[in-house]
């Protein structure tokens, strides 16, 4: 395998929303060399590929950052970090303005102010948001962008990060990326559970199917502390296309109704998790299918929706046109998605301090990969990218370049040898292929760890079975063979997902209560319990997942990893 070595000061893993903005921020530090590495081309990589519908996290007129943080705390039923939410919320509006500076189109009212939608959103044309962010990153003279390199592992010695390793998805080369500080911004994890459309359209899911939990997995293996994986995210989406529903619900004020036309959302509660739960319960009670009541919204509103969806989820407009009946003629059927681990919507991810420092020295996290701060959305990911960039720069100022331990070089050797081993020729015909193991994993998660088929419900015995099965799949990965770098990518994505699944199951087993309906619905502990007013955190130690419950960080408190 060809070997390419890159030396940099700050390495940003993942040139998505948070990663591009971190690079833009570090443009102000001309003395630092910055490298952004992404598994794809950053023009359209990550969550923003098709575009987004609105700026979902914004402090609207007359409201305060505390209003937003309080909302997110309540939606998470108390299990979120107020210090992270406040430090994010204070930056939301400036991040929105930065997007406008970069060329994003905002709808304005008569006085030239952003047009608001509800109490936390502003209206935009989000179709080209990712190309604009990519351009902003590339514009910085001190930023180098390395694309189509899949990062698999961090280089860590003595609980300090020294870089990362990956391989070229197109060129097949091994990459050793040496850095003095690292920002991980690889997004969340999709594809853990059997999806809504398990056949031909298996990747027509809500969350980006190419965000496979790499950032979580590399942190877990490096011994970083993780939080709240058990707070899964399940989205309520348009049936089949899995397109967002917020545009219809908030934009067209459509209510959730069952097959009899009864509005049911108020009976279950209006938290994000409760909206999903209500839909599941209505279906279980035989009152499905469930819909967003759009019938009669009028031709003009229908036309607006066609356009809004083309700007972010074209499949939905195609579906309406294909059916010959749009939302004015027919209510829009809704369903819950398969569960994801996404720290931008719930609180799963790296356990970070208020500076977005992880528990590994020199390693920072931002966006969907960072835990503790739900309801981040685009602007929250930008805010965290900015904070992580500032913190990484401050870390470098405080820690001048020093010698790199020899163990780091050995680690890189072993990782690269691992790539080569998968690409080696097989002597016997292998009965197991990557796709099979992936399907097996998704089936296990679906049936034993609260997937779609069980109405997201699970108990301790089922989780034990899930754990046993997932552990038995992991050794198969070492034996998988790839003929091309693209097949090698599939093997590593599977490896990441299996790592995330193991930690997810351990977290789900540890929270012996139902804190959030649907997201963590336990049939053996159907109520919330006061002793679980705490964060469930974990760390991989000698191959075992150690769970610790940590006290809530309340209002006015602030977590700092003082050993940094």
């Amino acid at each position: 395998m060809e070997r390419i070595v890159i030396d940099t000061d700050v390495l940003i893993i993942g040139g998505g929303t948070a990663g591009c903005f971190a690079a833009r921020t570090l443009g102000a530090r001309e003395d630092l060399r910055v490298t952004v590495v992404d598994k794809a081309a950053i023009e359209r990589s990550g969550c923003l590929a098709a575009g987004v519908n609105a700026i979902n996290a914004y402090i609207t007129r007359g409201r305060t950052p505390e209003f937003y943080a309080d909302y997110a705390m309540d939606d998470a039923n108390g299990i979120a970090r107020y210090d992270l939410l406040i430090s994010m919320s204070e930056r939301l509006n400036r991040c929105a303005e930065a997007l406008e500076d970069e060329g994003l189109v905002f709808l304005k009212d008569a006085e030239g102010r952003y047009a608001e939608r509800g109490t936390r959103n502003v209206k935009i044309n989000g179709e080209n948001i990712k190309p604009l962010l990519a351009r902003a990153a590339r514009r910085q003279p001190n930023v180098r962008v390395v694309e189509r390199v899949n990062v698999t592992d961090l280089l860590v010695a003595g609980n300090r990060v020294y870089g990362a390793c990956g391989f070229g998805v197109e060129d097949g080369a091994a990459y050793v990326l040496r850095a003095r500080a690292v920002i991980v911004a690889t997004g969340g994890a999709a594809g853990l559970y059997r999806p809504n459309n398990p056949g031909f359209s298996r990747h027509k899911m809500w969350y980006a199917p190419f965000n496979t939990g790499a950032g979580y997995a590399m942190g877990i293996r490096a011994g970083a502390e993780m939080t709240s994986f058990e707070m899964r995210f399940i989205a309520l989406r348009c049936k089949d296309t899995i397109a967002p529903t917020g545009t219809i619900a908030q934009g067209a004020h459509a209510k959730q109704v069952n097959a009899a036309g009864e509005v049911y959302e108020t009976a279950y509660g209006l938290r994000t998790s409760e909206r999903v739960w209500g839909t599941v319960e209505e279906n279980r009670a035989g009152r499905g299918p469930c819909y967003l009541r759009t019938r009669g919204i009028g031709a003009a509103a229908e036309e607006d929706l066609y356009r809004a969806y083309l700007n972010m989820a074209p499949a939905q407009t195609l579906k309406w046109v294909e059916a010959g009946a749009g939302p004015d003629a027919r209510d829009v059927e809704i369903e819950g998605t398969e569960p994801y681990v996404v720290g931008g919507h719930t609180a799963s991810g790296y356990w970070v301090d208020v500076h977005r420092a992880t528990t590994v020295a020199g390693l920072f996290a931002a966006g969907d990969v960072a835990g503790g701060a739900p309801q981040k959305y685009v602007t929250g990911a930008l805010a965290e990218g900015e904070i992580a960039a500032e913190s990484a720069a401050a870390f470098l100022d405080a820690h001048p370049a020093g010698a790199v331990p020899a163990a780091v070089e050995d680690q890189a050797e072993a990782i690269v040898a691992g790539y080569a081993a998968h690409l080696g020729v097989t002597t016997s015909r292998a009965p197991v292929v990557t796709e099979q193991v992936e399907e097996a994993m998704q089936k296990v998660m679906d049936e034993y760890a609260g997937g779609i088929s069980t109405g997201y419900r699970y108990n301790a015995r089922q989780l034990e079975r899930a754990d046993e099965e997932i552990r038995s799949l992991a050794p198969l990965v070492d034996r998988l063979r790839a003929r091309t770098p693209f097949e090698l990518l599939a093997i590593y994505e599977l490896r990441e997902r299996l790592t995330v699944c193991r930690v997810l199951i351990a977290h789900m087993a540890a929270r012996k209560e139902t804190r959030w309906h649907a997201f963590a619905e336990r049939t053996d502990y159907p109520e919330a319990r006061p002793e679980f007013e705490a964060y469930v955190n974990s760390r991989l130690e000698d191959g075992d997942i150690r769970i610790v419950l940590r006290d809530l960080v309340g209002k006015g408190e602030c977590l700092e990893h003082l050993d940094r």
Binding site: K39, A40, A41, E43, R44, S45, G46, A49, A50, N53, A54, V105, F106, L107, A115, R117, K123, I124, N125, G126, E127, N128, R148, V169, E170, N197, G199, F200, S201, R202, H203, K204, M205, A208, P209, F210, D240, T241, T247, I248, G251, A252, D304, L305, Y306, R307, A308, L310, N311, P314, A315, T317, L318, K319, V321, E322, A323, F486, L489
Partner: protein, 104 residues
């Protein structure tokens, strides 16, 4: 959900290959774009917008309601002209001015 590539229109320019967030597109032995894995398409339409030759169309798999209609797009700096072509040949075009925001 996936895309189909019209080999007669494809010039092999590689623009789609450079933009897919899943690295799914490659040029085949004859220098035409080809999906390495049609089932792994997210349906983001990045490749449609990147192709200046209108060679890529997008369709819904039958498992999610697809019944033969395709969607293509002609993009310029200022607009996206989306065209739906039904199985019976009927078409409908929606032009979006990229400088205007969503009303929703």
């Amino acid at each position: 959900m996936s895309i189909s590539i019209d080999r007669n229109r494809c010039t092999g320019c590689g623009a789609c290959n450079r933009v897919c967030p899943g690295n799914l597109l490659a040029l085949d032995a004859e220098g035409r774009a080809k999906s390495r894995s049609p089932r792994d398409c997210w349906g983001c339409t990045a490749c449609l917008k990147a192709c200046r030759f209108g060679a890529i169309a997008y369709f819904l798999g039958a498992d999610m309601g697809g019944r033969g209609t395709t969607l293509s797009v002609a993009s310029t700096e200022t607009e996206h002209a989306w065209t739906f072509t039904r199985a019976d040949g009927g078409t409908r075009t929606i032009v979006i001015d990229r400088r205007t925001a969503n009303n929703y």
